[in-house]
Amino acid sequence: MYFPQIFKGLWLTLKHIPKRKFTRQYPEEKPPLYGDYRGAPVLVRDPQGRVKCVACQLCEFVCPPKAIRVIPGYRPEERFDANVEKEPKDFIIDMLRCIYCGYCEEVCPEEAIFLQRDFSITGYKREELQFHKDKLLELGGVRADSIWKWKYAGAPPPDAPAAPERKPEGVVQL
């Protein structure tokens, strides 16, 4: 006879009704992210406000779901490094395809692309989730670390945002 077990089960579930609830009310309560959490990839500028990406396209080639597309172009003529470095004309990351693997960050020889901690990337249209160069640079902002190419050469281009004060070398600020 299984009736005693039925009543035991009913008593068990009844005891759970007033218990503490484990629901996390998401949009108000964010989940805790661990240290090296990988979120959306973005492009960064160096502390002088220069685009770090040189359109080498390594990230495009390494990207497993082929989410990145780089359209290479030239640096503006007035830049001191115009005939040394390339610069992406456009840099598109399809956030619908990105799997947040972090290979692009790992492969980048210029330390120009980084995974942020944003995990909530939503939109009403597919086009909204094709992040272009401007948007990626805006999301990335300036990264004040010591990996800094052409640190002592040239002046910042006239259209670049005001460069922050130089930090002492060797100090990594994330």
Binding site: I6, L12, T13, H16, I17, R20, K21, F22, T23, Q25
Partner: protein, 347 residues
């Protein structure tokens, strides 16, 4: 004459309005209770504490695209959801919601149809409910709905026998099939759950099977049959099945409250006699609804506790345990009643 018709129409409107509101909120309460049992919070986004959730669900169901698959028998496919819903709405007519309400010099019975065959009417109409499911399964012309329908017809026919036999002792004791009389008997004597515990237990279990609720939800059996008989249904047609299931639950709960928990009565004055004032009449309706909701909670609580039976165990339980038990119960009740008569005659 005209006033009687108007009074009846108002009664019907009130009963259906209250019933369908409770049915809609039962769905919400089911989601709450299920969440609490599983240590979750449950719906709390639509309105304060999620209280407007039924409205949102209803709006969603109405606005959804009504898919009519090409392979279905169109007429029966459309008829089936209505057939599930209608018996529940019809059977509530003979259940007394309260004793009586004195309004404007009239005594208004709180029952739509005070007929003497009460419970027979309920069984007759409720057994039509199986046609809704069988037609849905057959007309869908698809394997999972068909399997669900086959199972449900076997299950519902088997358990209708138990359901019918289990309440026979109640009526032997009361001496009437009229549900109003059953409640009045309980108001004067004692609640029948105390006199007929076996009857009560078998009736409750069979009602679970009749309303296709876990642990007997074979017609749906999500893990085995996708969604069972309503797999091919969408939009408001699905909504009708859903409402039908919960309406059946409501009627079953109302019946259990009426037959075994004394319906509108409470075992002390002035609630143990037909009401003489409006206030007491309304309180009695409240008592009836409270008892009904107690059973609705039981339905929900059991659903989120017990796993589904195995099909052969279900059949074995119905035919090999419940039916002999109900017959024994009838014989026992008869013997006790005769014994009491003899004792009375001899004293």
């Amino acid at each position: 004459m005209i006033t009687d018709i108007v009074i009846d129409l108002v009664k019907i409107a009130c009963v259906l309005g209250v019933m369908l509101t409770i049915v809609a909120y039962t769905v919400l309460v089911e989601r709450w209770v299920c969440a609490w049992i599983q240590d979750r919070i449950g719906p709390n986004r639509v309105g304060p504490w999620g209280l407007l959730q039924p409205l949102a669900d209803f709006g969603k169901l109405v606005l959804k695209e009504d898919v009519l698959p090409r392979h279905v028998q169109k007429f029966y496919y459309t008829l089936a959801p209505a057939l599930t819903m209608v018996p529940a709405l019809l059977t509530i007519a003979v259940v007394p919601w309260g004793s009586q309400l004195p309004i404007a010099g009239r005594m208004i019975d709180c029952i739509i149809a005070n007929i003497d065959v009460g419970i027979l009417f309920i069984f007759a109409i409720a057994s039509l409910g199986v046609y809704g499911i069988v037609l849905a399964g057959w007309a869908s012309n698809s394997k999972y709905p068909f399997l669900g329908a086959v199972r449900s017809s076997a299950q519902m026919i088997s358990y209708e026998v138990c359901l019918g036999l289990s309440v026979v002792p109640v009526f032997m004791q009361v001496g009437s099939l009229n549900l109003m009389k059953v409640v009045e008997y309980q108001a004067q004597h004692t609640w029948l759950i105390l006199c007929q515990p076996i009857s009560f237990f078998i009736f409750v279990t069979s009602a679970f099977a009749e309303t296709n609720r876990l642990p007997f939800d074979f017609p749906e059996a999500e893990q085995e049959l996708v969604a069972g008989y309503n797999t091919e249904y969408s939009s408001m047609k699905f909504g009708m099945f859903f409402m039908g299931e919960y309406s059946n639950m409501f009627v079953a709960s109302a019946l259990m409250a009426t037959l075994f928990l004394g319906g509108w009565s409470l075992p002390f004055a002035p609630f143990n006699a037909p009401a003489q004032t409006l206030a007491i009449g309304l309180i009695q309706i409240g008592v009836f609804l409270a008892k009904t909701m107690l059973f609705l909670f039981l339905f929900i609580w059991v659903r989120w506790t017990l796993p589904r039976f195995r099909y052969d165990k279900l059949m074995a339980l119905g035919w090999k345990i419940f039916i002999p038990l109900t017959i024994a119960n009838i014989v026992l009740t008869g013997a006790v009643l005769v014994g009491l008569e003899v004792m009375k005659a001899n004293l």
